[in-house]
């Protein structure tokens, strides 16, 4: 019986020792590998380099890596009618200090990424988007309008063979004065990029307000 008691004591001691090692009390910081907090569109008038407009969409994360409410107060583009702009898409991860320039990372892996720009509302008969920027499937068309008169062309290419467009730099061409939204989607298409929307998944899918005057 005493042998049994001894064994029980040993087991209890082992259990207590093991239980004392409380690693869980130290909480590791949340590292979101794929955090993307900020998307910026920087547009420069091709006719007048001082005519510059910037729109910023931002959604920061809390300490547990969960999204805070989105900040769309600066996500507005004010553009002149009948004007051509060169556009640059800038993306940042502001959960890091200093903020990581995500658009540089995307540039390095341009073969995996493709941007889509979808002005809305659009009309079913006249998609006011360029032929090189196919529309996003499922976009609702409006029969009555008024439509946003904006055309977007991607101007950069990846290193695929043959090269395919990326969309980090673009041309924005405005028509007559109008109001609407511009949906920007970045598709992540590792090894399956073929120029269309379908393969892969969306890494970013956000919207800007557009005012053409």
């Amino acid at each position: 019986m005493s042998k049994f008691k001894n064994q029980l004591m040993v087991c209890a001691a082992v259990l207590m020792l093991a239980a004392c090692n409380k690693k869980e009390k130290a909480v590791a910081p949340t590292i979101s590998n794929e955090a993307l907090t900020t998307v910026q569109l920087v547009l420069i008038n091709t006719a007048s380099p001082f005519d510059k407009d910037t729109a910023t969409w931002q959604q920061l994360l809390d300490v547990n890596g969960n999204p805070l409410p989105e900040d769309t107060s600066k996500a507005i583009l004010n553009l002149h009618a009948g004007t051509t702009y060169t556009a640059q898409v800038l993306m940042y991860d502001k959960t890091q200090t200093p903020a990581t320039n995500v658009s540089d990372e995307i540039k390095q892996r341009a073969n995996y990424h493709l941007f889509f720009f979808q002005p809305t509302p659009i009309s079913p008969s006249n998609y006011v988007i360029s032929t090189t920027t196919t529309n996003i499937p499922g976009t609702v068309t409006s029969a009555s309008g008024p439509y946003l008169n904006l055309t977007v062309n991607r101007t950069d290419y990846d290193t695929n063979n043959p090269p395919m467009q990326v969309g980090l730099t673009d041309n924005f061409v405005t028509g007559a004065a109008s109001d609407g939204h511009l949906r920007v989607v970045m598709r992540h298409q590792p090894n399956v990029k073929n120029g269309t929307y379908d393969p892969g998944s969306s890494d970013a899918d956000i919207s800007f307000r557009v005012h053409i005057y």
Partner: protein, 783 residues
Amino acid sequence: MLLLVLSLKGFSQQDSIGRKSCAIIFKGKVYAAGNDSLPYATVEIKEINKGVVTDEQGNFLIKNICPGTYTVECNYLGFKSIVKQITFNKNISYDFLMMSEDIQVQEVEIRDTKRKEEKNEMISQQRSELKGKDLDRTRGLSLGESLKSIPGVNSIQTGPSISKPIIHGLHSNRILILNNGVRQESQQWGSEHAPEIDPFIATKISVIKGASSIRYGSDAIGGVILVEPKALLSEPGVKGELNLVGMSNSRLGASSAIVEGAFDKKLKGLSWRLQGTARRAGNSKTSGYYMENTGFREENFSSALAYNKERFGAELYFSRFNTSLGIFTGSQVGNITDLQQALQNTRPSTPSYFTYKIGRPNQQVTHDLFKAKSFWKFKEAGKLEFIFARQQNKRYEYDHIPFNGSTNPALYLQIITHTTDLTWYHKSTKKISGSIGLNGITQGNVRAFEFLIPNFRNYGAGIFVIEKWKKNRLTIEGGVRYDYRWLRAYMLDNNTAKIVTPTYQFNNVTGTLGMLYYLRENLTFTSNLGTAWRSPTVSELFSNGVHQGAASYDIGNPNLKSERAYNFNAAINYSGKKINGEIGFYNNQINNYIYSKPDLQFIHTVRGAFPTFTYTQVNTRFRGVDLLASYKIRDSLTFTSKAAMIWAYNQTIQDYLVFTPANRFENSLKYNVGSLGKIKSIYFNLTNIYVAHQRRVPPNSDYTNPPAAYTLFNADLGFDLVIGRQVLNVNFSATNILNASYRDYLNRFRYFTNDVGRNFIIRLKVPFNLLQKIFFNENNVKQ
């Protein structure tokens, strides 16, 4: 070689004891029904370690036996062992008639009434066992897939590589899995976290359907799965078994080997076992296309060392399970628009091909189990059993390579669990038997990288009493249990960024009352009423984030209370000469049932919109029937039918519960061909499985309607091949012979892809027995 010497020495010693008339000869023949003689069957006289193997004609001869009464055992693979007490006072001639296991054993072993002698098990509950040839026919499959042939048991799948068992519509934290007697503790709350158990360690897998909290602890609301290895060798010698499996569809290869032994003489009572399994599979194929990144790799091993005496025994056990699982890439939708797009496609938009390579996303999981067990038997006080176990589960989940090129996992979780169980089986009388037990558990969970669940510590303690009273045809059993659970999470406060420690305490009393009554010798009625409870898991309390592959955003609810179940089941079991069957009914009332309810709202993130789901508690009722019946048309031809139907109802919203298994029917016809020369116990089996369209679904709870009904045909051909002295168990199977295109409601990837297509499987089992060889040599030497 050493063992050979030991054994020979053993024999000579036996002879040199020097009784005068140790010259009795024991001879005879071993044959099977139908007069097939059985070569290479073993005949062994247990007490004096004398054994031989029958010759080509099935004859055996054992010489030099001293007078006395001995236990004689005759064994042949695939046949029931014969154990007889024989008194030797003159030369004896005896013929053994062996009965094939197939004739006695049903598809799934129906309740074995002899089990009533086991005092530590509840007998009034529905219980199914998978063992022998039925278990052999599932070799190479995961635990979740292996159990699907049992009525009332399904599996929830995440593509072809991840499968979790469901009992009576309940899974994950609502069922318990006992891996070699230890409750499996990992991150089992996740529907894409499969049990980290190698089914090759088991020679029997039992499923207890219905609440079983009293004996096995809280959480066992739906039932218990017992993964049971066979006992270590008690007779000196070394033997083993090699299993090989190959599958055409995913080009799966699996091999598993066991070597075990027991020592003799001074080390008598000491036994050991080593076991290892490797499985590897590439991309699975549906009827029309490959599913990208659905391969997996698994390497497991276990070892055991035991010392057993009559009144004392101790056992050490260690096992490691290690796997890499690919997650079907086509399921990686970004947001709800991606998902809607995927739902409109009839096949994944990205074509794939065969490869063993596991890309991203994937999971890498390691589960270690250490167990120490000992028992003491007392003359008057019964038996005391103590088990201590430590489990460590490490889980790395890898997503697509992120923008910053980091090769870190997206998620890392490590949980260490210590459990202790002390059970006292008090001395039983003719009428009364029972046990009293104490259980203790503590867990520590550590996370890193993304936040999915917080760090936590919990402590739990339970005490139970189970008593059984038996008189004539009636057995009544009852039990009571008290449980206490303490949980503290460690996480950062969203506003202050300081560590906060929300703490919970739960305690509950549960009870059970059951009966078994023999209406006739072969007709029993069982009924059981039991309660069970489960405390909310940390994922239900605190999870907050995007659920990968489901395009949903899960929100925990820190105010959840514990779930409480009131379970009633009743079954009638008949085992006749031609007809066998069991019909079981159950009604499981679960109050405060926790589930993630669609909020019908969206959360907007940079990746787009996600519908949110919040953990909520409702009252539910799970009601159903399981049926198993077999009819022996001729001695060699048996028809078996199984059915499982379940109605899961959410009483709070007065509608059905989402993700409940659809009605399932399985019919099979088995033909025992008999033997053809050296090919023994040939059988052919044809199975039809019909899974109905699930129509019992609430509106607005899923992204799409449940898939259509489907029918599958499976076939298998099995036999034992005798090559020289070696017996080989061979099984050829084909599943989904017609290469049907189908989607299953319980497969979480049904939104994106069809289920697995046609698959040809070959299974080989090679038992080897070094002890047997020694006897054979011995016999030759003496002659």
